[in-house]
Amino acid sequence: MAMALFFIKFVSWKQISLTIIMANIEKLTAIASQVRRDIVRMVSGAGSGHPGGSLGITDIMTALFFEEMKQDPATWTRSAKGQDAFILSAGHLAPVYYSVLSRAGYFPKEELGTLRKFGTRLQGHPSTEAGLPGVFQPSGSLGQGLSCAAGIALGKKIDGEDNNVYVLCGDGESEEGQIWEAGMFAVHHKLDNLIAMTDVNGQQIDGPTSEVAAIFGLEEKWAAFGWNVISADGHDFESILKAFELAKAAKGSGKPSMILFTTDMGHGVDFMAGTHKWHGKAPSAEQCEAALAQLPETLGDY
């Protein structure tokens, strides 16, 4: 009897949470489309930048900022105390970062058009110099963000804070040795409030990762380093949100979590998808129009 009751409760909880997830997915899908429009327009307008990787992590970043993180633009300060924190280790993915921050309310969307232009707060790579809300730390030189995130996570542990620290790295970026130094450190210091993500798109600027360096077997590598490893589809919101839940469920285990998100570089624009060729190249005006035709304007362009 008790078991049957438990089962009914379990099912009803699942159904409720499923309904919430479905509603949220509709909302997130709409936001992601607008973010992708922003990315294409921003990079095209700047005449340089990194659209491919930005489009590839758009769904992850949208889920992170509009569903997952406990971080409020109204009360945000660069001090990471008392809030969740996010570090974009792969700093060249700044376009998606800026779009998501703006659409989440950290600064006016009109500022998105200033990307990479003289005097802007939206530097080519994330900067804290001009105090852009939402950005905790500069990035761009690869391989460093995981260490910084581990430091924030350790600071929160020392202070007995319950908030989480999120960091996003690339698979190509994981060729940097410092990533693995941080991997050992986070396990040694039991930073189970650290939720790292790797954008596994199999591409880097000089070509497919498999042709550039031996960065295969990330799941086995992170597991061997002692991390809680979760694999997810970086373009499926249900999979993304479930991965975050699994990561948070590891709190108390002493293990930091690494979510390996499989993504397509350039996702959402057919002629940009699945190739490294749009890693660091801006679309022309015609290419921009062709891309925008594939991405519904859901929240109003900047």
Binding site: S79, A80, T128, S141, G145, S147, C148, G151, G155, I158
Partner: protein, 317 residues
């Protein structure tokens, strides 16, 4: 001329260790991080007193820099300690982005700097670090002269808000500054007033400069000795005023000729008070194994060479 008395001998890194402990007692946010060099950096006392605030990073300096930046973002005051080479050249890019550009409140404790490291040889004898750290916008660069001043400089660095590079050394050297004189970041200390020549020195070279000034006095030369304990920001006014007074300047440092204190002061004087100069430094050479005294003599950096270089500067007046 003021007479300096050697009140004892100690390594400047022990001054750092003592200062770190004091700073830790004064501020619960002060943390100590090291990359497997707790003993060499004299962090033992801090680690024993505050075990939960001592963070062992293992032999992974790049990660340590990033972790420190992250800790600073949570309001901590992290001191990262290692040998000079491993907290500068090895991690220059990490310091540049995470500490410099991010302007995080990280203190870089750099031990075993200069040729007086001695027996370990050139791989560890760092003489490029001042150039590297000086070139980072917003970085404070401190190079105190003895145990007492290093202790006080550490306490001052902990109270200062922003990135600090604190350079000190391995060998046991003379203690001659007051025990409890608070350290003023950005101040050049006038150790001896004089009228014939200015000897500008930093770090271990200050004691050599004082000994040189004593030798010069016996020859009837009245030397002014300046201790540039803070290299950046530089106390330009004190140095320019001294150069104008004496009309000849010698700069002595335990560093490569490129990018060190000598070039820095030459630039300041060229712009504000062109003055004949001579330079004592490690030239553009690698070090080698030997005792500190042997090396200072062999590389032309001891008190005797300083006295000669001071006279050479005067002949250019």
């Amino acid at each position: 001329m003021k007479k300096y008395i050697e009140t004892g001998k100690k390594d400047t890194r022990s001054g750092f260790g003592a200062g770190l402990l004091e700073a830790g007692k004064a501020d619960a946010n002060v943390l100590a991080l090291t990359a497997d060099l707790k003993g060499s950096l004299k962090m033992d006392a801090f680690a024993a007193e505050f075990p939960e605030r001592f963070i062992q990073c293992g032999i992974a300096e790049a990660n340590m820099v990033g972790v420190a930046a992250g800790l600073a973002l949570t309001g901590k005051v992290p001191f990262i300690g290692s040998f000079a080479e491993f907290v500068t050249g090895r991690v220059y890019d990490q310091i540049r982005q995470e500490v410099g550009y991010g302007h995080t409140n990280v203190k870089i404790a750099s031990s075993h700097a200069g040729i007086t490291l001695g027996e370990d040889g050139a791989t560890h004898q760092t003489m490029e670090d001042i150039a590297l750290m000086r070139a980072i916008p917003g970085m404070v660069v401190i190079n105190p002269c003895d145990y007492n001043q290093t202790k006080q400089a550490t306490i001052a660095a902990a109270k200062y808000q922003g990135p600090v590079y604190l350079r000190f050394g391995r060998p046991s050297v003379a203690i001659f500054t007051p025990e409890d004189e608070p350290f003023e970041i950005g101040k050049t200390y006038v150790m001896n007033e004089g009228k014939d020549v200015t000897i500008v020195a930093t770090g271990h070279m200050v004691w050599e400069a004082i000994k040189a000034a004593e030798a010069l006095e016996a020859d009837g030369i009245n030397a002014e000795v300046l201790n540039v304990a803070t290299i950046k920001p530089l106390d330009e006014a004190t140095i320019v005023a001294s150069a104008k007074k004496t009309g000849a300047v010698l700069v002595a440092e335990e560093h490569n000729s490129a990018g060190g204190l000598g070039e820095l002061i030459a630039g300041v004087l060229a712009a504000q008070a062109p003055t004949p100069m001579t330079f004592i430094n490690g030239a553009d050479k690698w070090g080698q194994s030997g005792t500190p005294a042997e090396l200072l003599a062999a590389y032309g950096m001891d008190a005797a060479h300083i006295a000669e270089a001071a006279k050479a500067a005067m002949t250019k007046k």
